[in-house]
């Protein structure tokens, strides 16, 4: 989880800016210094923003999958992980139509004293944080890890600590949220907001341009405005990701690791480096 104090509007992209979506990490065999090891390898997908629009959903109540409101949460009690639903039981972040449209959003809570626990469920797709399903943080128990306090978010312009994105999925969105009201607070009926942008995207498929974009991420004065968003920050699990077929066809991706990426970027931007220790990246 990010430790900065930026908000979702600070990270807003404009048309012609670049977006890198980071699906991390899978495990692949890699040859380093003559030895084959299994290591974490990330998938990066590159896009240029063609158009943007604001997305805002507020006020939003905590509801179940038939649209019934959870209601008041007593101090010391919580609500288990679930998608965000409207009063008709629709997953409000669903994105089922367009592979070249994504939602870039964050979640805010109007009241203080409410813990927000984000996660991607232990399923075929995703798998957030480093906990296995049996020991992941429980919102209902108010576990002391894996949450963002509502005081750190802002209802009108939420913190980037709960930033995420949604690409085209065939079913419900993968990210879920649990909530807990801290001991000593009054009973609360949380009022939530989802705020961010929808981006219309086109793929970046030229490898040298992809590497330039990656290099820009670490430059003080980048050539292009670039935003990198993690899908599964801090994940230590092996998992599959739900990538639209259209992305795969466009070949707008790099498979990268710490071992090969930094060197390749440095080479791309004209800095001579030794590559003695970096040999190969192979498939699983």
């Amino acid at each position: 989880m990010k430790e900065d104090s930026t908000t979702i509007s600070d990270n807003k992209l404009e048309p012609e800016d670049f977006l890198v979506l980071h699906f991390s990490p899978s495990r692949k065999s890699q040859t380093i210094s003559g030895d084959t090891v299994r290591t974490k390898v990330s998938e990066l997908y590159f896009f240029q923003v063609a158009d943007t629009s604001e997305i805002t959903y507020k006020p939003l109540r905590i509801r179940d999958n038939v649209g019934d409101e959870v209601g008041v949460i007593e101090p010391g009690e919580g609500v288990d992980y679930n998608q965000l639903y409207d009063d008709s039981g629709n997953d409000i972040l669903r994105n089922t139509d367009d592979p070249w449209r994504i939602y870039h959003y964050s979640l805010g809570v109007r009241q203080s004293g409410v813990r927000v626990y984000p996660r991607i469920p232990d399923a075929n797709f995703g798998g957030a944080f480093s906990w296995l399903s049996g020991s992941e943080p429980s919102p209902q128990n108010g576990d002391e890890v894996g949450y963002v306090m509502s005081g750190e978010t802002d209802y009108e312009d939420p913190s980037s600590k709960l930033e995420g994105f949604v690409n085209k999925q065939d079913d419900l969105t993968q990210t879920q949220f649990g909530f807990y009201v801290e001991e000593g607070e009054v009973p609360k009926r949380p009022i939530l907001s989802v705020v961010g942008q929808a981006y219309e995207l086109r793929p970046v498929y030229d490898k040298s341009q992809m590497l330039e974009i990656l290099a820009d991420l670490s430059k003080y004065e980048p050539q292009h405005r670039v935003e990198l968003i993690d899908y599964t920050s801090n994940s230590l699990r092996t998992h599959n990701t739900n990538i639209p077929d259209e992305w795969l066809s466009s070949e707008n991706t790099l498979t990268v690791s710490d071992a090969n990426t930094s060197t390749t970027i440095l080479e791309e931007i004209g800095i001579d480096v030794s590559v003695d220790d970096v040999v190969d990246v192979g498939g699983e």
Partner: protein, 102 residues
């Protein structure tokens, strides 16, 4: 207790009463008891209760307690705030509760 000084965040509920009435407001959403005011021809005792528990009491002929930014107490969702007056004669009382807007 966090009470943001921005009225856009809150829906304000105001209740008034006279003479020996007690007045009350039941919240829908959590919020704050912003203020209690009372005036009487003789000295009176005003009691503020939330969910049946007394949280404050005041004595005087002209009581004005709490304001925006410095509320009397936080109040949970679906709880009843009651202001009652003892030994009242010709009393006017006023209660203002701010609930988070949603």
């Amino acid at each position: 207790m966090t009470y943001q000084e921005n009225s856009d965040n809150f829906t304000t509920h105001e209740v008034t009463g006279e003479t020996s009435e007690s007045i009350s407001h039941t919240t829908e959403v959590d919020g704050f008891v912003r203020s209690v005011e009372a005036s009487a021809s003789e000295e009176i005792t005003i009691t503020v209760s939330v969910g049946g528990t007394e949280v404050a009491n005041y004595i005087g002929t002209a009581v004005s307690k709490g304001e925006f930014g410095e509320p009397i107490t936080e109040v949970g969702a679906e709880e009843t705030v009651e202001v009652s007056v003892q030994e009242s004669t010709d009393t006017a009382i006023n209660l203002v509760v701010d609930e988070y807007k949603g």
